[in-house]
């Protein structure tokens, strides 16, 4: 029952016949026009939340090495800012960037003009209002108390109404599709768009269901918050990578069969990996064993996706020097493979015993959210925005600065947390080391995280500014993409 489909026209490289090409180009322009309102709305809100989240993240990071920072204000205490940061990052930035990119990709790949886009803007308003309420509640001390699912039921409910409309529209676009056998990106998108309400809805609903006592609440919350990363965020990120890389380098993906194998192994095993979060905890031990097994079986996906994307890029690596979209997206694709491998290693009991309760586990989340997903979304936004606003990005140097800020800053945060986590775990598992010494000697890692976050924040500020300029139509005239360096013909075999 594989959906392996030869999709010859999928990310259609421009052929040579001029007449049908022109018709296709006109059709693409019509589709972009129909999606521009809602997609720009989701992108805009996502960027605002990204900047707000970066600020919250910086506050929390500084407080870890300088606990006097903003101390004494209840709404700025670490235990409130930290969850606000996490929720902002996942639901404000990542999910909305994902919805925007997902809707645009779906319309393009299904070759459907979006109808009643205004409803999607209403949906986005619901999502943003619900999230704002939830984050304000968090800093005021209203929380569900469950790590990963902290928003209040009311806030989550408002967001869910908004998301239901998005899912309905996504289903309609797919229903009205004019493209033949669907492309691998469409599979990932549909799975992701359906997994989000499923995990999010059930995760929050379960907090209020009677009859779920004690640690079952933690089990469900871990399942839901982990699935949002492994299914929703990963699904959209891979859909974007599978679309953008072949599209920009102008050749079909290496193998549709590999893509299909990767997709199905992800779909089956991805939803089972979550219990590693409670490894060693007061839950049935077999649950953790199932998740470790699922992690190991996911090797199939890691290998196939990596091979497919890398082989598609073969001989075209020079494109990372030219195309911003490729540089960001390929960085994201490679990060996906690395993140998956690190995640697999950390699921193993011997490693988990060392790094559980340290920043290393959080570093894996960041590898998925920052290094893989966010980079793929930046790549997609750099590709999509010119098609929606009608002008090209103003400055290649700004894009370049954004990339280096995101790559160096984000990379530094992740490395600091990974090695910090190993160090934290090693000192904690040595009973001779006083716990206060464990914490005291961790100080350099806390400082390192802050430095990394500052670099990351600078990159994101530049991106935010560049994005604002695009919204104001301040850019280069449309037609010729803004590249880091011109592509020379002799390279372009």
């Amino acid at each position: 029952m594989t959906a392996a489909a030869p999709a010859p026209t999928a990310p259609a490289p421009s052929g040579s016949a001029p007449a049908p090409n022109r018709a296709l180009a006109l059709e693409r322009a019509r589709i972009d026009k129909s999606t521009s309102g809602p997609v720009l709305f989701f992108f805009g809100s996502a960027v605002l939340w990204l900047l707000a989240g970066t600020l919250l993240g910086l506050i929390a990071a500084i407080q870890l090495h300088s606990p006097a920072f903003l101390a004494g204000f209840s709404f700025m205490t670490y235990g409130r800012v930290w969850p606000a940061y996490q929720q902002t990052l996942i639901y404000g930035w990542a999910s909305q960037a994902g919805i925007g990119v997902g809707l645009w990709l779906l319309s393009r790949l299904c070759r459907v003009e979006m109808k009643f886009g205004g409803v999607l803007i209403v949906a986005g308003l619901f999502w943003n209002i619900g999230l704002s309420v939830g984050v304000l509640q968090l800093v005021c001390g209203v929380t569900s108390g469950v790590v990963g699912m902290e928003l209040s039921g009311g806030a989550a409910g408002i967001m869910f109404i908004g998301y239901a409309l998005v899912a309905l529209w996504a289903a309609m676009i797919y229903g009205f599709r004019r493209q033949g056998p669907s492309y691998v990106s469409v599979w990932y998108l549909l799975a992701a768009f359906l997994w989000l309400p499923w995990a999010f809805g059930l995760g929050y609903l379960a907090q209020h269901l009677p009859g779920l006592q004690g640690v079952l609440k933690n089990v469900i919350a871990s399942w839901a918050s982990h699935s949002l990363v492994t299914m929703w965020i990963t699904g959209v990120g891979l859909a974007a990578a599978y679309y953008l890389i072949p599209k920009v380098i102008n050749r079909p993906i290496f193998s549709y069969n590999l893509a299909s194998i990767g997709f199905w192994s992800w779909l089956i095993f991805g939803g089972l990996t979550s219990m590693v979060r409670l490894s060693g905890g007061p839950i049935p031990a077999w649950l953790v064993t199932v998740s470790i097994a699922a992690h190991i079986l996911l090797i199939v996906q890691i290998v196939t996706v990596t091979a497919n994307l890398v082989l598609t890029m073969q001989d075209q690596y020079h494109m990372v020097y030219h195309s911003p979209t490729i540089r960001f997206t390929f960085f994201g694709a490679i990060s996906f493979s690395l993140a998956s491998v690190v995640s697999l290693l950390m699921s193993l009991r011997s490693v988990d015993g060392l790094v559980h309760f340290t920043d290393a586990t959080y570093a894996v989340d960041l590898m998925f959210i920052f290094a893989f997903f966010s980079m793929a979304m930046f790549g997609a936004i750099y590709y999509i925005m010119p098609r929606l606003v009608g002008c090209e990005w103003l400055s290649a140097s700004m894009i370049s600065l954004h990339f280096w800020g995101a790559a160096y800053g984000g990379g530094m945060v992740i490395l600091v947390l990974l090695f910090g986590g190993l160090y934290h775990g090693a000192t904690m598992s040595d009973p001779e080391t006083l716990f206060s010494q464990v914490i005291e000697s961790y100080y350099p890692f806390h400082v390192g995280r802050t430095i990394g976050l500052v670099i990351l924040a600078l990159g994101q500020l530049i991106f935010g500014l560049h994005f604002l300029l695009m919204l104001l139509r301040i850019g280069q005239p449309g037609g010729q993409a803004t590249l880091f360096a011109p592509i020379q013909e002799d390279f372009h075999s």
Partner: protein
């Protein structure tokens, strides 16, 4: 077009598999746990765990609202999963039954602070046995001062000050019995007294004691007692 069926079946199937494995089977396995009841000649002599009521319940809400669980776990783990027992954070690992009445359990995800599963127990320690620099017994007064200014009692602490749970009052006549042994920022004729929230939070912390033997956990220290507990539904 005609390939939608396998795709949607697959997606729905992936929901079903993951829901069944991660949620439904565990629910059937541990969803109907009951407290352990010890009977002696027909009379109930002991029930564990019991529900938090009164000040402990209020304090629990303060613990949640301020996100204490982002740095403090409440789960004691086996020796193969860490040094919790050696560090003095508990006498046995914690199990699902310990959390029966917790809405929700604060299992925690990171340890920038020590585990608090048993912080209310007199045996709880965060220093090796025989450590001379060991702070005074962690009673209510210690916890209040620690919440107000953590570095007053543990110099290396990175815990934030929760001084918004305290108020600064002008001393009228005698000092309050609750006043902290610190100099108030406003001057000598002022005193720092805990608000109801701080008292409730400390009340909650002092109830945290999961050292009670349970039949499903082997505990080096409490093995005979646990063995004597008759099985109860």
């Amino acid at each position: 077009m005609n390939r939608s069926m396998p795709l949607f079946t697959g997606v729905i199937g992936s929901f079903a598999i993951s829901l069944a494995a991660i949620v439904l089977v565990p629910k059937s396995q541990i969803g109907a746990l009951q407290p352990q009841i010890t009977e002696d000649e027909g009379k109930i002599t002991d029930i564990f765990p019991i529900e938090n009521r009164g000040i402990a319940e209020k304090g629990r809400a303060i613990y949640a609202a301020n996100g204490c669980y982002y740095c403090h776990s409440q789960q004691v783990r086996d020796p193969q999963n860490g040094t919790d027992l050696v560090r003095g954070w508990g006498e046995r690992r914690t199990v699902a039954r310990d959390y029966l009445f917790e809405e929700p359990p604060f299992l925690g995800a990171n340890r920038f602070g020590p585990d608090l599963s048993n912080v209310g127990s007199a045996k709880w320690r965060n220093e090796p046995e025989g450590e001379t620099r060991k702070p005074a017994r962690r009673d209510a007064a210690w916890h209040l001062l620690h919440l107000y200014y953590p570095r007053a009692v543990i110099t290396q602490s990175i815990m934030p000050s929760y001084r918004y749970l305290f108020e600064q009052r002008k001393v009228s006549g005698q000092r309050s019995v609750d006043a902290l042994p610190v100099v108030a920022p406003k001057g000598a004729d002022y005193e720092i007294v805990p608000k109801a929230e701080a008292k409730a939070l400390v009340g909650y912390l002092l109830t945290l004691d999961r050292s009670h033997p349970l039949q499903e956990v082997k505990s080096a220290a409490a093995a005979p007692a646990a063995a004597a507990v008759p099985a109860a539904k």
